[in-house]
């Protein structure tokens, strides 16, 4: 059985809510039922068939041919199977996913991997703001699984992150890891702004350095820690090469404005 393919007919005029297109919700639907799924976000009541050509059948292997920054909520709540998008995606890609895998060959909008609990999200381009972060009012961001962004990420990546791993190969925008509860954020490029503000626990490995740290982060000096080696190795096996190798880094503890049990690792230099 060949994978289910959604081929985008052209740039949609409105944003699309593609949350119904996960294996759990497509399973058992006929092709014509799939065509009739409502995916529009305006009063026009747009149907899937208006926007995509559909082929293939295996709902556990979904592919989008052609992307757009207006394709929102791809893989929302995904728990199994795989989704591959050839192109860009909009907001909330992989939000609240619990398992399975999503690959985006282009870039993603805001809230990619928002509050995800499990599974793996790979964005080969860049990600927007609040990568892995919570929605309005939610007290927890990402709480499991792994995200890799091969480009850069927007502001507030890993906000309120509670568990799991995020690797950003490029730069990350202002105030990464704000209000972090626990978990691990690894950044290959520069961390802009003041990362880690209001973090209670958790680990920031900023291999490309930070623009600045708040005075409620305290220098603990260079540290040669087994955990760094172990993480480089284990996360590398899980997500591919990571931008640190386990050699000694300078450790900062903070944010003492709140609990102060978080840590930031910066290159020795």
């Amino acid at each position: 059985m060949t994978g289910l393919v959604f081929r985008l007919k052209g740039e949609p005029e409105e944003r699309l809510d593609l949350s119904p297109l996960i294996p759990e919700r497509l399973d058992g639907l006929t092709s014509s039922e799939i065509q009739k799924l409502g995916i529009g976000t305006t009063k026009r009541d747009l149907k899937l068939g208006d926007v995509f050509d559909v082929s293939g059948a295996d709902v556990s292997d979904i592919r989008f041919e052609g992307g757009s920054a207006r394709l929102d909520k791809i893989g929302l709540g995904l728990s199994k199977g795989s989704i591959r998008v050839e192109g860009d995606v909009g907001f909330r890609c992989g939000r609240a996913m619990r398992g399975g895998a999503i690959t985006v060959t282009g870039s993603a909008g805001d809230l990619a991997g928002s509050a995800m609990e499990g599974g793996e999200l790979v964005i080969q381009g860049s990600a927007g703001a609040r990568l892995g972060g919570p929605e309005a009012g939610e007290t927890k961001g990402m709480s499991g699984g792994a995200i890799r962004v091969q480009g850069s990420a927007g502001e507030r990546a890993a906000d309120r992150m509670r568990r799991g791993t995020i690797v950003i190969d490029g730069d990350c925008g202002l105030d990464a890891a704000s209000r972090m509860i626990a978990g691990t954020l690894i950044v290959g490029g520069k961390a802009k702004g003041t990362p880690g503000r209001l973090m209670k626990r958790g680990t920031l490995i900023l291999a490309g350095g930070a623009e600045r740290l708040a005075p409620t982060f305290l220098d603990c000096g260079p540290q040669d820690l087994i955990i760094l080696r172990l993480m480089a190795r284990a996360i590398g096996e899980e997500l591919g090469a990571v931008p640190f190798d386990g050699s000694p880094m300078r450790r900062y503890g903070g944010d003492t404005a709140v609990l102060g049990m978080g840590e930031v690792f910066l290159p020795l230099r």
Partner: protein, 306 residues
């Protein structure tokens, strides 16, 4: 006088038609790494000290083998250590107590679970409070670790390790020789061969025990007492299992995470002893049992011949 049939004679060493009777135990494995092999071994040796018999030591433990850096979790030299106990609770208590005293304390070490199972016992999760609130929990790539600041740096310890309730304790060989030199030589050869088998330990000193025991004794409260049937000095006055030419007997006790591992270890031991031959080594190989009614595992020697 008990009559023991001979199952086979290989290279001049006769093998009893007998079996080792063994018992289910809860078992686990951990990995200890350190800056070099010396310190990994120091920690492992201390941790497995006084862990010969579950009856008096609370658990049985031993070094399974030394691991090369390529084999360890963090790429440093390491040691794999196995522990066995009556049950999961007892095992966990022993392992965590020994972990706290012998690994946490030992310079440069780190400690990881080294047995995959859904059933687990605590490692770092049990001793993390030593860090007085400064402990850090890390979960990544499906694993959970505790990091504890210590004066030397940071002690890294996996939160839990897998355990099995289907481990086996009490696999054994009785090595019977003309005199103690031969018994020791044969036993040493057997232990060396057995060490190449994964998932087993021989918990007694050098893997060898001279004070093999029977169940109970004449004194109230003794759970075990000397195995008089195999004591050469009592050959005449007791119901002996020894023939006249046997002047000394040693025993190798084997604990394994699986029955198969115990069987493989026993087979390796038998091969090593028979390869050595009766002149420099042992005349006869036997096994200890209690008539077959106590332990569910019966390792028949005739099934384990080279």
């Amino acid at each position: 006088m008990p009559v023991t049939e001979t199952a086979a004679t290989i290279n001049g060493v006769s093998i009893d038609d007998s079996f080792a009777e063994a018992f289910p135990m809860s078992g686990t494995a951990i990995q200890i790494t350190a800056i070099n092999e010396k310190w990994a071994l120091e920690a492992a040796t201390k941790m497995t000290g006084f862990a010969t018999s579950v009856i008096a030591c609370g658990c049985e433990g031993g070094i399974e083998r030394v691991l090369s850096p390529a084999e360890t979790r963090d790429g440093r030299p390491g040691v794999r250590v196995l522990f066995f106990g009556f049950d999961a609770g007892g095992l966990e208590k022993q392992v965590t107590t020994r972990l706290g005293q012998c690994i946490l304390t030992c310079p440069t070490t780190a400690c990881y679970g080294d047995y995959e199972s859904d059933q687990t016992i605590d490692l770092g999760s049990a001793i993390r409070y030593f860090a007085d609130g400064f402990q850090i929990s890390k979960k990544f790539a499906g694993k959970h670790f505790w990091r504890m600041p210590v004066m030397e740096g940071e002690f890294l310890c996996e939160a839990k390790t897998g355990m099995t309730g289907d481990g086996v304790g009490g696999g054994n060989l009785l090595i019977m020789a003309r005199h103690v030199e031969g018994a020791l030589k044969a036993s040493e050869a057997a232990v060396e061969a057995m060490k190449t088998v994964p998932d087993v330990i021989m918990p007694f000193p050098g893997g060898i025990v001279r004070s093999g025991s029977k169940v109970g004794g004449k004194y109230k409260g003794m759970m075990a007492s000397t195995n008089d049937a195999y004591c050469p000095t009592l050959k005449g006055v007791t119901d002996t299992a020894l023939t006249e030419e046997i002047g000394s007997v040693l025993e190798i006790v084997i604990d394994g995470l699986t029955p198969d591992a115990v069987a493989k270890a026993m087979a390796a031991g038998i091969k090593a002893i028979t390869d050595l031959g009766p002149e420099t080594g042992a005349l006869r190989i036997g096994a200890g049992n209690y008539g077959g009614n106590l332990g569910p595992h019966h390792f028949h020697l005739k099934d384990l011949l080279p």
